[in-house]
Every structure is written in structure tokens, then in C-alpha cells.
Symmetry: C2
């Protein structure tokens, strides 16, 4: 068994790709895969392995292009509007329907609308016709031997129709590249099993496998290989024996005690790179074993997904003979400072909205373990090597995951995140699906600052002002003095103490918090302000509350920390406590408002959001949720 | 059996859609379909039937975010760079790998790189750590009960990974809309059978079925129903009994003697529209039978495909809860006058290239039977009702079938079309696939005029000048006097007489054409000029050649007409004769050149085309084709 290797290389992205290409060329595997015969019924999305030529002309005989009568044009020259020409049916004229072959000795068709039929044997015509009028000439569409589809063409419905039309019932399509995916990790469980503490659900195989399938390849996932060098070596050997086009080793690609991918590849083949200068995705392994490329995929899901985009998908497309489609990009400005490691190509997932005519990009959580940052991403910003990052307000180019039209119909909400904003988003999606809501949680005060900076359309806030004993209004004048702002009530919510099931410490009020481990919210959060106010009322200081410095960013995170026994109590919403089956002691009903600069009220997504907010279906749905009141929802405070 | 109905209605597109929507609402079929449970392995591309919430937090316990040692942060405060702090393994510090749960009473992780291990029992650390350093907190990614995917979301690989990560192994996805497709027509044959004269291959079911599958629905195609009212009525009744979401009747939607779709729908349900004011696609039938929408699809393939786009795909998306994605569009100018029927929405397929910074749209063959016009289309121009069409040079908006980046890398060749231009396109595609060749056949002189008008980058020409006994050069000064033009040789080609297999009339030269039925090429074609020249040499006048007025537009079409017995002889390329197994008498070798205004020589697609033309692989492939010489291919004439 190899020694624990602590350090990874820092091979630039392009260098790593070049090494892989060179190795593929040496192995004779850099060219598109050979063709296989595919029935037309299964050809959708497949790629032609060569130019496809017409086997038969289409149409393959001259035929009528209209319903009517086939005639010989030369026999109609004397027909006039004022002097009908009679034609004998079965001798001079023959009834034909669209698509019928022209009877012998005819070369034109008269439309049925332009004849009269005085009796069963004759028709009368009132104008001469030109040769080949309303005739589809043989080969009008395709002529035998002409090229109908080019090589390396991904077949669409009309292409498949055309192939059938010119005499094919099968087509030579490139074989689908076949990837064998080996998930590894002793702590990993398949997703249909319930993980215990210390066990994790293995889902990178679903991400990578589906990336490959969506790109036109095939992916087979093996059983999970335990963290054991001999087991991994054997599994890799077994995979090689199946002769796939590509082997992916999931996890174990770093340099830790249980990271065996690089060593296994090195033993069975040649290691080309271990550690690529990209973030996220640094611990990538690239090698060749028995002339089969083997890629070690990092275990963190964001790294895994981006490694798939950077290394796996280009390979699949190369083998299919397809070009990598140019990503749609847009110019945006960053609403945050972005710090990038100097030596790395840095890929940052961002949420996007158009505000005051500019595309604003807000970086999402950067942790490589946060797969929801990819689920929620509207785009991916690439900060190249040797850039140290970006200042707030700096321009950046974003590869789009969403159509620009949809981004332009996005209402960006920053500030406090209420879970019922997701309910609002659901109603909006059902009611006016061309619009979207994107909500970024920066706390109530952070939201007002974002409005001031022009980074959001709306701010969610529930800021209690002890002096006036009101919510939100005093803070507007404090943070948005120069701005005409409308304040619309979103909901009233019940705030209180979130306690473990059964309330083992018997806490009944703020006064009982002495000695208990409290879970706090972050600075600037409305719930923290409220808690500070209640502490003051009970004449407690923060120093007397254990855990006051433990900050969580959402109600659900507080509830989860209590559920996990990390703390004995937190403050938050009744809805969060009940969602996790926890006890709850209500302390107050607070008003959660949306602050909206007036210049945004008439923009399409904000108008659609407010319409949905005031819709009876939403108000009734919201009012039915435990811990919420909707009797003032949609009302204008100011 | 119903009477033959001659006239169709002219219902505006929006009115027809509105009638269908009203009927769907009445039938309770206008809303997205219900959900069904789908294993995650099969969820790619499926659409969520409701918002999906996390069943389990991810991670569902605090875990190490790095390989290293778990410690209690409070126990590390005295560590300094200059004063190492020893920690006892198994008591103060615990080795952990990424993803391991934090041992009890620890709240931070020290990276393995930052410790020393002097012996088996202890490590030394050199800096204090903050609480939760290198710890992935429970719920960092997803917190139990939070909304992970919205309703009506089409699932991508990362979405499926996220669902597995938060405790799902199945997901409620909208049932796939199921369409039953009934092809009709007594003359129609399945595509795997060889059609005789008068029989046609049925392929619209492949187009419509694949359009539906590509959009996320299911399509089942029945046997072909003969043109018989009772048979169609019975087939429709059988289809209704299977309770699909949608029934399509292919062909038989017009008002001819064999068009029974409208009558059958009328008998078994309600006819909503028969005849829609769109071109192509006018004879559409829309109805409801037993609360199932039934659409009669026109028989011509272009009409069928566009009816699918206009009526069928929006229904499939509606039932899936998906928005119709906004088509990417671009502004172009038309290189041709386009005549549209005033009362109709007119849809025109166009080829696109960027020339002198402007997108030039060239309408493709407009016949509704020309499916290759859809195969070759780079975009679709919509000329709305009440417009009578467009002048040449007029602006038009084009919905793109190709990415704009690819259109910008298109070399547009107009003029004479040599079949070996397709061979060049194949080589270009293999060699420099980011570039494309589009070739539009307008004859040699038409190509030079297109260059003068700035509608093409290159013109293919083989124009013999009897006075100088040279090719092409004299015509350049005639048609492109004010232009700096380079002339590059494409190939030498053998021209001659194309004759039926066995040459039944014993034709050996032009002189033998008296009395034979000749197939001519269109005015402006180089082959026609050559033929006129040869006629003159043999002292024959056009009037003495039967069929002189019968014009075909390509070499292959001439050969096809001879093969079909429409004519006794035509003039064209050896390659065309041999492709169809015909006799050929060579008369001359002509030079086919590409004329290129010099300002285009450095543009990327033209440069790539010329590189490919001069590539040894292409020259040798071309020279190996019967009837071609490539010894001067790529050489500059002027």
C-alpha cells in the first residue's frame, strides 16, 4: 500500500488537457468513435458517423402537387375564360389526388377548384396550363446520391424524416461513448439507503452519470468500492477488463490517508496529472490505464460537477464528433468582492438579476460541498489564473445556465429569508411562470444596504425598533434616506424559543436561558435584534448567554442545531421548530415586510411578484401555515 | 361517407390556438399533468410536479471539511508559531478524514499540513484555531424541510444529485404526455419497405413522434390507416379508447377526395377549426373527441413539421408545466424578394451567413414538400399576417436553428453547385469543425451576381467563353468589374451526355440529338452555356432540340430525369451519370473555379475553406472520384 501523499500538484488546466490529449492520441483514442447501424426510430440525438447520401430520390416519381386532374399541357392551349375546353375523363384528363403519380402522357395538373364537371365523362377547363404546373418533379426534394446529412451531425426530428424519405431505415451513427463510474468511500451509502451518523449518501455518480447521458454517452455505475487500496486496485482492474471508453473514480482523488485513486492508476497505468489548478475541483487525477483514460473525480459535489464539465464532457463530445457548443455569456457586475487563489482558474457560481439595466451577479456560497450553489446558479463566472479576484462592482463575464430572457424577468430579493418566500416563488411559478424570484439571504439590514447599492429589487426585513415599538419603518429612514421606498407587508410570523423535543431543561422564557447553550443568529439578522431586545427586557447581558457567539444564518439552521443537540435553545420561527419536530414557546408575532424602491414597482418581475402576493390563493395558502398570519399580507405600510 | 369538401377555412393562428385552449379548459385538460413517482436514476429531463423539500439535512452531522485532526478550539488558544502546543491523540486530537463526523467534544479541524507528529501519541500544533474551522456544519448545504427544487423544474444532473443528497431516492415528476399518432394514406408505406411507383414512404410519424419525444412526451405510432372513411373513423375510435392525451391524424387533413380527418373528428367529437391561415401548414384540423384533443396534420412534410412546432409542442410543454423557451433570434436582411399570401402568417426557412458584418438570409426552396429545406435551414423567418412579403434587402427577424457563433463561421457559396462541394464540406467538418460551408445553387452567373450584391463569400462557376476559349475569367470582368476578386480552381470535371443505361437511341454526339428528348439546365447555368456552344459547333439551333425548354436545376436532377425516362438525353457530369447507373459519353473537361472577393480571403470561414481545399487529404479524395481531376485544385488563377 502506498504512503500517504500530502501534496498535490498545481497543473494549469490547459496543460492538464494537453497531457490527456497527447496520451489519447498515442493510444489511438482521440478520434470520434466508429459508427454502428441504428434504426431510425432510435436515431434522435445520435450523431452521423459519415455523410449520409440519398438512396432514392424524393419524390421518386413525378406526382400531383394538388388534388385535381392530370392533363397534357399541350392539349390545353385553346382553353379560355370565355371558351371552356372540354376534356374527356380517362382519355384527356385523369382525376388525381395530391401525391398520386402522373398518369402516362400527362405533364401538368389542374386544380379541382378550376374545373367544372357537367357530366360523368367530361370536365370543362377555362385556362391553358403550363407544362409541369402543380407537379412535384421527381427529385424535387432529394436526388439519389446527393448528400442529405453531413458527418458529425446530431440528428433532429426533421433529419430523421428526411432520411426515411430518401430510402434509409437505418443510419450509421457514432457509437455512444461508454463510461464506467466507480464510486468509492467506506462511509458512502447508495441513495436508497438511510445513512447513519458518519455515513454519507453517494450521489456524485448520479451527477456524473447524468452529465454523460445528457451529452450523448452511456454510463454504468458499479457498487461502491471501500477505502482500501487493494479493493480499489482490483475494482480498477475489473473496470479495465470491461474495456469502456472512460473510467471515472469518484472520491479518493486527493492526497489524504484514504485517497488511493492516484496510486491505483499509477500502478495499473500511467499517472498524467494529480492536482489541477482550478477551484473548485483542485484534486483531480488524470491517467491512462491499458490505453483507457481514467479520471479521478474529487469527492465534493461542486468540484465533481465542475470536473465533469471541464474534463469529462469535452471527452464525450470529442468521441461523438461534436463541437462543444459556445456557452451563452453575458456581461455582469459583481455585487461582492471575490477573492480568488492567484494560481488557479477560479469558477464562481452566481445568481443573476437585471437591476437598473445592469446585470448584477451575486456569488453563491463558495464551499465545494454546497451542491445547491450549482442548483441555484444562474451562471458561472470564470476568474482566470493570475487574477487575484474582483472588487465589488467590477465587471465579469458569466456563462449562463439560464436564458437571458428569464434572468431579465427575475425579482432579486436580498435580506432576511423567510421560508414562505419559497411558497411565494411556487405560486409565482404557477401563476406567471415567465417571472422568477431569486432570494439571497444576507439578513434584514444587509438587505436594506443591498437596496441602497442597487443590488436587489426587494429587501425582506423584520427589524424591531424598541424606541418606537414598530417594525422596519425607522430602519428605512436610517438606511435608505435618499430613496423613495414602498414597504409592503409579507406576513406576520410567530417568533419564539426553539427547544429540543420534550424541552428537557424546562425552559419557559428568556429568563431561563442562563446556563443553557444558546444558538444565535448572525449580526444584522432581525431575529438577533429581537433577541437582544428581549435580553434587555429580562436584564440579561450577552456575556451571560452561553453560545451567544455561535452564529447560524437561517431559522432552519438554528432548528437543525437544536435538533442535533449542539445547543439547548435558539430563537426562531414556529414553522422552523415544527418542521423539525421540536418544541416551541411563542414569544411574539413580528411583521415581515418587503421594502421596494418605488422605481422598481412597475418592472415586470416585481409587478408579477406583488400580484401574486395579493392573490387570494397565496394569501389563503400562507395563512394556513403554522406560525403565519396573512391578514395584512400585500398591504402597503408606506 | 361525407361529401368532398372543397374549401378550407382561413382561421388566424391565434384564434385557432384560443379555440383549442378554451376546449381544453372545458375538458379539464389545460393544466399540467399530475405527478408520478420516478426513481432518481430515470429523472433526467423530467419535470417536478411540485416543490421538492429536503427530507434530511446535508450534511446531516457536523463533519470534517479537511483531512487532519479534530480538536476543541478552546483547547488550542496557547499554541504559537514559536511555542508548539502538544495535543494527545485520542484525548485532545483525533485524526479525521474529509467527511468524517466530528468526534464528541470537538468543534474544529486542523489541516494535516499544519501539524507535526513527533511520536505515535502526540501531535504538535503551531497556531490556535477558531471554533468550526474546517468543519462542514450540519445543514451547510441543505436543511431539512427547505425547498430544494421548485415546481415545474426540468431536472438537470446537479438537481438529481441534490435530491439524493437530501434524502430522496424518488421524485414526483409530471407524467409524460402520451400522444397516439395515426398515419393515414393508402399510398403510404412504412419506411422499411421499398415503395413502388405511386407509393410514398410515410415519414411524418418519425418527425412528429421525435418532436414529441424531444420535448419530453411519449409517442406511439399505429399502423397506417388506408384512405377510407370507415377505416379512419374506426381507427380514431380505437385511439380514443386508449385514452391518450393527444391524437394526431397524419395527412388527410385537407379538403380533397381522400381527406377524411375533419369529417371523422366531426362525427366522433367536435371540429374546432379546419384550415389555419399559416404557410406552410394551411390544411390543419383541430378538434376534440371524448375530451381528447385531436389534431389533423397536413401531409406535406414541411407543413407537418411546422404544425408540430406551432400546435403540438406548445401542448406538450403546457402539460409538462414548462415554458416555451424564447427562441434565439437575430436581425438579418433578405437576399431575395419574398412574396407572402396577405392573409397568412408565413414561415420561411432561410440559410444564414454573416457577410460584410450583416446577417444575410437566403430563403430556401419554399415548397411544402421539400423537407430538406428544414434540414438545411439555419433559421425560420416569420412574416406576419397582413404583410405582403419583403423586398430584397429588407430587414427581417429570424428565429435561429443554429447558434449564432456557428452562423458567423459560415462560408456562403452561391453559384453553380458541384456535388464535390459536399465532399469539401465533409473534409472541413472533420478538419476545422467550428466552420461551416453553406452552398446555395443559383447557377454560375447567379453566383457572380450574388458576389456583386454582397450576398455570398464565394461563387462556384464553370463559365466557358467561346471567344477566348477559357473558363470564368472573362465573366469576372463582365460581372464584377469594380471588385478585386481572386479565382481559385476547385476541380476539373468531365462534362458529357447523360444517357439511359444501354444507350437505346445509340446517341454518340451532340449531332445525334435531333429527334431525341433533351433535358436542359436552367438559364445562367454553366452547363447550359456549354451546351449552347456545342450546339453552335454542330450547327444545331435550340428549336431543333426537343425538350430544350425543359429546365432542371442540378446535374443530379438531369440524371434523374433521364433515369426515369422523362428524357432521352441530358448534359451533365460523369459523376451524376454514374451515380444513377446511366451511360455517359464524355465531351469535355471543364474547370470549376471559386470566385472570391479579396476582402473575404482573411475571414475565418473562407480561410478555413481554402486551407481544406489545399489539404492533401481532400485533393487526393477528390482526385479519386470518377469524372474529377484535382491536379490544379487550390491553385490561384488570378
Amino acid at each position: 500500500m502506498p504512503k500517504r501523499q500530502i501534496y498535490l500538484e498545481d497543473i494549469p488546466l490547459e496543460e492538464a488537457r494537453a497531457r490527456l490529449q497527447t496520451a489519447l492520441e498515442r493510444a489511438g483514442r482521440s478520434r470520434p468513435l466508429a459508427g454502428e447501424s441504428v434504426p431510425l426510430e432510435e436515431a434522435l440525438g445520435r450523431v452521423t458517423a459519415g455523410p449520409v447520401r440519398a438512396r432514392r430520390s424524393s419524390p421518386h416519381f413525378h406526382c400531383a402537387a394538388m388534388d385535381g386532374y392530370a392533363v397534357r399541357a399541350a392539349a390545353t392551349v385553346s382553353a379560355r375564360e370565355t371558351q371552356a375546353l372540354p376534356l374527356r375523363l380517362g382519355a384527356d384528363a385523369f382525376p388525381v389526388n395530391t401525391g398520386d403519380p402522373l398518369p402516362e402522357n400527362t405533364d401538368a395538373v389542374i386544380m379541382i377548384e378550376n374545373v367544372n364537371q357537367p357530366d360523368a365523362d367530361r370536365i370543362l377547363i377555362y385556362a391553358s396550363v403550363a407544362p409541369w404546373q402543380y407537379v412535384r418533379l421527381m427529385g424535387e426534394d432529394m436526388v439519389e446520391t446527393e448528400t442529405v446529412l453531413q458527418v458529425n451531425h446530431q440528428m433532429r426530428p426533421v433529419d430523421i424524416g428526411a432520411l426515411a424519405g430518401c430510402g434509409h431505415s437505418e443510419v450509421a451513427a457514432r457509437r455512444k461513448p461508454r463510461a464506467l463510474i466507480l464510486p468509492t468511500g467506506s462511509e458512502m451509502l447508495p441513495h436508497n439507503q438511510q445513512p447513519k451518523r458518519g455515513q454519507l449518501t453517494e450521489y456524485n455518480s448520479l451527477i456524473l452519470g447524468n452529465q454523460i447521458r445528457a451529452a450523448g454517452g452511456e454510463a454504468v455505475v458499479t457498487d461502491i468500492v471501500p477505502d482500501d487500496f487493494a479493493a480499489l486496485r482490483a475494482a480498477l482492474q475489473g473496470a479495465i477488463a470491461e474495456e469502456p471508453d472512460l473510467i471515472l473514480l469518484l472520491s479518493g482523488s486527493s492526497a489524504g490517508a484514504h485517497d488511493f485513486s492516484a496510486a491505483a492508476i499509477g500502478e495499473l497505468g500511467e499517472l498524467l496529472a494529480h492536482g489541477i489548478a482550478v477551484r473548485p475541483g483542485h484534486p483531480v487525477v488524470i491517467g491512462m490505464a491499458a490505453d483507457i483514460p481514467v479520471i479521478g473525480i474529487p469527492g465534493y459535489p461542486v468540484s465533481a460537477a465542475l470536473t465533469g464539465e471541464l474534463f469529462v464532457l469535452p471527452l464525450i463530445r470529442q468521441w461523438l464528433g461534436l463541437q462543444t457548443p459556445p456557452a451563452a455569456t453575458a456581461d455582469a457586475v459583481s455585487t461582492r468582492k471575490i477573492v480568488s487563489p492567484t494560481g488557479d482558474d477560479d469558477f464562481v457560481r452566481v445568481a443573476l438579476a437585471e437591476i437598473d439595466g445592469r446585470l448584477q451577479a451575486t456569488p453563491l456560497q463558495r464551499g465545494a460541498g454546497v451542491i445547491t450553489s450549482l442548483v441555484r446558479a444562474d451562471g458561472l463566472a470564470h476568474i482566470p489564473r493570475f487574477h487575484e479576484g474582483l472588487d465589488r462592482g467590477a465587471a465579469l463575464k458569466v456563462a449562463l445556465y439560464q436564458p437571458l430572457a428569464s434572468i431579465r424577468r427575475t425579482a432579486m430579493i436580498m435580506g432576511s429569508h423567510d421560508p414562505m418566500l419559497d411558497l411565494l416563488a411556487t405560486h409565482l411559478r404557477l401563476r406567471a411562470p415567465e417571472n422568477r424570484i431569486v432570494s439571497v439571504n444576507v439578513g434584514s439590514i444587509g438587505g436594506l444596504i443591498a437596496l441602497r447599492r442597487g443590488e436587489a429589487h426587494l429587501a425582506g426585513c423584520h427589524l424591531f425598533d424598541p424606541d418606537s415599538a414598530t417594525y422596519n419603518l425607522p430602519y428605512l429612514s436610517r438606511y435608505l434616506r435618499d430613496e423613495a421606498v414602498t414597504l409592503v407587508t409579507f406576513a406576520h410570523r410567530e417568533q419564539g424559543l426553539i427547544l429540543p423535543d420534550g424541552n428537557p431543561l424546562g425552559i419557559t422564557s428568556i429568563a431561563d436561558l442562563r446556563g443553557a447553550r444558546y444558538i444565535n443568529r448572525q449580526r444584522g439578522a432581525g431575529t438577533r435584534l429581537l433577541f437582544d431586545h428581549l435580553l434587555g427586557q429580562h436584564e440579561l447581558s450577552p456575556e451571560e448567554v452561553a453560545g451567544y457567539e455561535h452564529e447560524e444564518y437561517t431559522h432552519l439552521a438554528v432548528a437543525a442545531a437544536v435538533a442535533d443537540g449542539i445547543g439547548d435553545c435558539g430563537m426562531g420561527l414556529r414553522s422552523a421548530a415544527e418542521a423539525m419536530g421540536l418544541d416551541f414557546i411563542g414569544l411574539t408575532w413580528e411583521r415581515f415586510d418587503l421594502a421596494i424602491p418605488r422605481r422598481f414597482l412597475e418592472t415586470a418581475p416585481v409587478a408579477a411578484l406583488l400580484d401574486t402576493l395579493r392573490d387570494g390563493a397565496f394569501i389563503s395558502d400562507l395563512g394556513g401555515q403554522s406560525g403565519y398570519r396573512s391578514d395584512e399580507t400585500g398591504q402597503i405600510v408606506i
